[in-house]
Symmetry: C2
Subunit: 385 residues, 2 copies
């Protein structure tokens, strides 16, 4: 069978395999990024017009595009509805952007670590990935400037707000500095913000795209973390030089995004009901985050270091004695515990041993302590042997 060249770059997805193993009910899974089941809101369908069953436009429902543009403008993103494209989950933004920009050997700039499924999507299309190390308040600026001086990336892909996996939120100063650098070198920014609304402190910072003066950009978001992931409703907002191409690529990919999910999302966006739901979500996840922090302090203080995440769904642990955490998966699963090894989130996994990504939204509080105790024991045994 003669496949395309890109199939050789199609990686077996570690995440998918771990999630499959973690499906067994007895497994305490810190691996995924699933919303907590009790926090999935009850939705109503009775008022949906029958016309939502008909074919729709590739751009998406006009009223939903208006609502998303209004929310983005409130964050300082200069845009109108004509720049909004409804996508089948924000993962599709990565597919469309890959098609728009990436030939084999095209350079793209990423954070280290970065979102695994983005890395895999870009690599599938043959990207030559260049990494900028992430610090606790955003990318190392010297390294970013050096990469921009020595390379010609088609775009920079950044997750500045509660990044998956590192939970880092860029400071105001770094957001300004990154925007200035991208403007200076004329590099397009793809800014991915699934976790913006899952914030547990008072802080907030406007998107980097709102700080750009010259560079082109794509800003992408989703309702998957705040409403219902099963709807598969995401969006992108793009500068007018990019939008027409993304629209045609969207049409070729799947004609248009499902309209029933678009209609449901529209019932929530910008509503009082949604604001109330988001407040409940933040309270719920803050309590789970605090519970996780307490148990981690008990079992992991001697093993690892971490920042307390101010938003998002993950703790990012750095082992004091690094080892390849992929080797911990089998013994952890044997103890009915699942987690995400840190290595696959880097372009060069073998050069970055010793990180674990732990989700705090999914495991029920009564099983938290037992799960983390078992995981700590697995690490201790591996380090001892």
């Amino acid at each position: 069978m003669a496949f395309s060249e890109r199939v050789a770059r199609l990686k077996s997805s570690l995440i998918r395999e771990i999630l499959a193993a973690a499906q067994r009910p007895e497994v305490m899974s810190f691996a995924g990024g699933l919303p907590a089941e009790p926090m999935l809101p009850k939705v109503e369908w009775d008022a949906m017009p029958a016309s939502m069953g008909q074919y729709g436009t590739s751009e998406g429902e006009p009223a939903l595009r208006e609502a998303i543009a209004a929310e983005a403008r409130a964050l300082g993103v200069p845009c109108d509805a004509s720049q909004v494209l409804i996508v089948s989950g924000s993962q599709q933004t990565l597919d469309l952007a890959s098609k728009l920009f990436i030939d084999p050997g095209t350079e793209v700039l990423l954070e280290a670590p970065t979102y695994l499924a983005a890395l895999q999507a870009f690599q599938l299309f043959g990207a030559d990935c260049i990494a900028v190390p992430q610090e606790s308040d955003g990318p190392q600026l010297d390294a970013l400037r050096q990469r921009l001086e020595n390379h010609k990336p088609a775009f920079a892909y950044l997750i500045p707000t509660f990044q998956n996996p590192s939970a880092v939120r860029y400071s105001e100063a770094k957001r300004d500095a990154v925007a200035a650098l991208l403007d200076e070198f004329g590099v397009t920014l793809i800014e991915d913000e699934p976790y913006r609304e899952l914030v547990f402190d008072g802080g907030s910072a406007t998107p980097i795209v709102s700080r750009l003066k010259k560079a082109s950009w794509i800003y992408t978001g989703t309702v998957s973390k705040t409403l219902l992931p099963g709807l598969r409703i995401g969006y992108l907002i793009a500068t007018p030089d990019l939008y027409p191409y993304l629209l045609r690529l969207k049409q070729s990919a799947d004609l248009h995004t499902n309209r029933i999910g678009q209609w449901q999302a529209l019932q929530w966006l910008g509503s009082e009901k949604y604001r109330g739901h988001l407040a409940e979500l933040r309270d719920f996840y803050r309590i789970r985050r605090d519970a996780m922090q307490a148990v981690l302090a008990e079992h992991f203080s001697d093993l690892a270091e971490w920042q307390i995440p101010q938003g998002g769904l993950f703790f990012w642990l750095t082992l004091k004695k690094p080892l390849d955490t992929r080797t911990l998966l089998a013994p952890a699963l044997a103890q009915n515990v699942a987690f995400m090894p840190g290595e696959p989130f880097f372009i060069d996994p073998d050069a970055h041993p010793g990180h674990l990504r732990l989700n705090f939204s999914h495991v029920a509080p009564e099983r938290l302590s037992e799960g983390l105790k078992r995981l700590a024991e697995v690490i201790r045994q591996a380090q001892a042997s």
Copy 2:
């Protein structure tokens, strides 16, 4: 801005532009392939479990995969649920297959004419398209053999049942002959069957994939023509040598298909309610087809030739005095009539003037005569000048 090479192959979609123009309520549109609004079934959502709001698997809902495999087996397609992948409308099958097989210059074999959006998807990825002329009962077999002897296509993409645009249904003999040829040359078949259930006579013929003995295959279908296109629920069934790659490409494209649409589709597939709805659909469209045939006979007998379609949604007219039907679009729209020119359905449009694709499902019967009379007049004027 440096885009990927494939962007240069991204065609402006004539269909999208025509459909946009045809949105105006005063336009009598024979252009699209939209189901008739009155035949969109009323659907219920009350019984949908809350869990459908959560993330799902890339493969799709297990019960839906089982139901689709059972229907396919009833058609003679040898398969089980593990070979079924739920996709975001069958357009996504074309995107996934393109990713699996097509590098720039990869040869693929198509019917002439073929489905426009498939042609565009394959060309976007750089396919070198090879065409086999379509006859009234399927492809010219001599031409097919000659193409297979002289080329090494990665796959053959065929629409054997009420093809869009030509409405051709392959005969039993040609289905057997095509299967034998693909087996002989070891060429993978992609068989696209959106219109199988929209049949207006007693005839039926099993899929070509059920007749293959050796060649690999992908069989793809959708609920868009029989239930609700707005759900964006399609499926593919693939031989086990192809399935794992298609699954990983699906995951990279959009993680998984929306679950609410999957749940709704499952309420219908294989049910008594669905069989009743399909029977009503066939009656409704048969009446519209017959009405269209009567009006065409009145206004187009001197202008064109055509077969009466035994299924699907289209008449395919061949002008007795060929001209580039793309030049008719503007004058037709000036008369508030929209149609699809035939040229874009061919790899080499300029070599195939003189076809029109006319949809019979959408225009209300009371406007049919006036619409087709105006279109005939536009053609007469163009031929006179």
